[in-house]
């Protein structure tokens, strides 16, 4: 039996997003984000939110993404409240609730910003949920990226989950000892402050150990065999070229708008 590449298991698990390579997913997230900043019409923004939401819903939804979405919805609601009431451009009343008036300009501004935040969260969530660190590493190395740059990139990807993991352990230990009940948001935030420095030091220490391990395990060996990509990706070069071209056009448009203001 093929214990490393269990084909039967893979076929059973193969989804549509597995044929899209990690770089295309990342470029797509960047393209959608830049497009949302280029467009100012709220209907277009809503369309982009819908597209990125469909992408996310058609992929594997993780608890972390749901947390990120719920937190951003809370942020957007706060933005609408603040901008609707206090935006400097506010002129036309939109709605009055209990003698408090919300203005059209502020609400529209907050909705546009909120839509951009959602597009970023949804498209990055799609990338995060449909790729693994090993898939990214294998793919990047197979397309010619030097191993040390791949490792550097993967280390950066590991820092946040590692901090989260260490934080959970410390908070669990604190709860078990009854040091901090952490029931309210304020209590949770207050409990974070004293452990920030040990948390960062521990994570840094783990990163150093991982780097030692990789060297001991021959990651930089000249005999190293580059692993074949995990999936057969569809039209990778074409999608890369197309998305890079679109991104360049979008950046060009933005730069032209800025230059035009000075002319």
């Amino acid at each position: 039996m093929d214990i490393r590449h269990n084909r039967l298991q893979k076929v059973a698990r193969l989804h549509w997003y597995n044929v899209v390579d990690p770089v295309t997913k990342l470029l797509l997230a960047l393209f959608l984000t830049l497009l949302s900043f280029q467009l100012t019409d709220l209907y277009f923004e809503a369309g982009l939110v819908l597209i990125s939401l469909i992408l996310l819903l058609l992929s594997r939804l993780s608890v972390a993404t749901l947390h990120a979405v719920s937190f951003s919805l809370f942020l957007i609601a706060t933005m609408i409240l603040i901008q609707g009431l206090f935006n400097s451009q506010n002129a036309h009343p939109l709605v009055t609730i209990l003698s408090i008036t919300f203005y059209q300009e502020g609400v529209l501004y907050a909705l546009t910003m909120g839509a951009r935040i959602l597009i970023i969260i949804f498209s990055i969530g799609f990338f995060m949920n449909t790729t693994t660190v090993s898939e990214n590493a294998t793919y990047l190395e197979s397309v010619g990226m030097p191993y040390n740059q791949v490792y550097l990139l993967m280390s950066v990807c590991y820092i946040l989950p590692q901090i989260q993991q260490n934080l959970k352990k410390i908070q669990f230990a604190e709860k078990a000892r009854g040091i901090n009940p952490q029931k309210t948001l304020i209590q949770k935030l207050r409990s974070l402050l004293p452990i920030m420095i040990p948390l960062i030091i521990k994570t840094f220490d783990q990163s150093i150990n991982r780097s030692i391990t990789l060297q001991l395990r021959g990651f930089n060996s000249p005999e190293r065999t580059i692993a074949a990509p995990m999936y057969h990706y569809f039209k990778t070069k074409l999608s890369h070229y197309f998305l890079v071209l679109m991104i360049i056009i979008l950046i060009g448009c933005k730069l032209w708008q800025i230059i035009k203001n000075f002319l």
Partner: protein
Amino acid sequence: MANYQKLSINQLSFTYQHDRVPVLNDLTVSVPLDHIIGIIGNHHAGKTTLCRVLAGIVPHIIAGNLVGSCQLGDQSPVQDWPAYNQQTGFVLQDPHSQLSGLADTVADEIAFDLLNHGVEETAIQQRVAAVAAQLQLTAQLQQSPDSLSGGQLQRLAIATAIVTRPTVLILDDPTSEMDPQGRSDFFNWLKTVTHTTIVIVSNEIDELCEIADELWVLEKGHLVSHGTPLQVMNHLSPKWQVATPTIYQLASLMNWPLATKPTLFPVNFNQLRRCVNVNHSN
């Protein structure tokens, strides 16, 4: 002249960069290759640093001032580290740090070292299956390394170190998270390993006395005692605060010395069995 059949450490001292106090202080010892060497000692004795020196991590990856020499057979961890590293397997104290983080399954994690050594795919398959069977990880091969328990993770760390068939295996407290059965299985497996020089740091003094050919006692960076477990355990100083094996404690309480050396008490089962037989026949 250098002895190519020995692990020789000669006047070895080491101080970490930005530190003033040496962690290892004038260590001199030599032992034949293919032996099992147990390193014991209290906290901050220098056990992990000695393992790092033997693995070549110090001074190649972690900087510091290394004085003296260290030679394993015809190779030196200081002089030709890349070649030496290919012959060495190292298990870190923290098994989480041992993982590459670049593998989705246990099988891929074990295969990582072999891919780095340029081994062919068919050989990789065979070796991964064999090592997983040796360390009772066959059922976990398709699981994510993140889903393993502490003991399984330590076994995976050991699997990654032995899959390349190293001639030198350095294990820094490899059983700290294992349950008693797992620990016992591990030491029983270690006894069966041949043609490999094994250096193991452990607090499991009973098991060490069963399997080790030689014990080194470290105290604040000094090698205060070395020899067979029988010699070392019978000449321990209380100030080193090193635990003695249960068999030694039992035999000294019952006053069952070795028949051949009446001043020494047994430290492992075989020695105890012989003592009990002699005492019964008397």
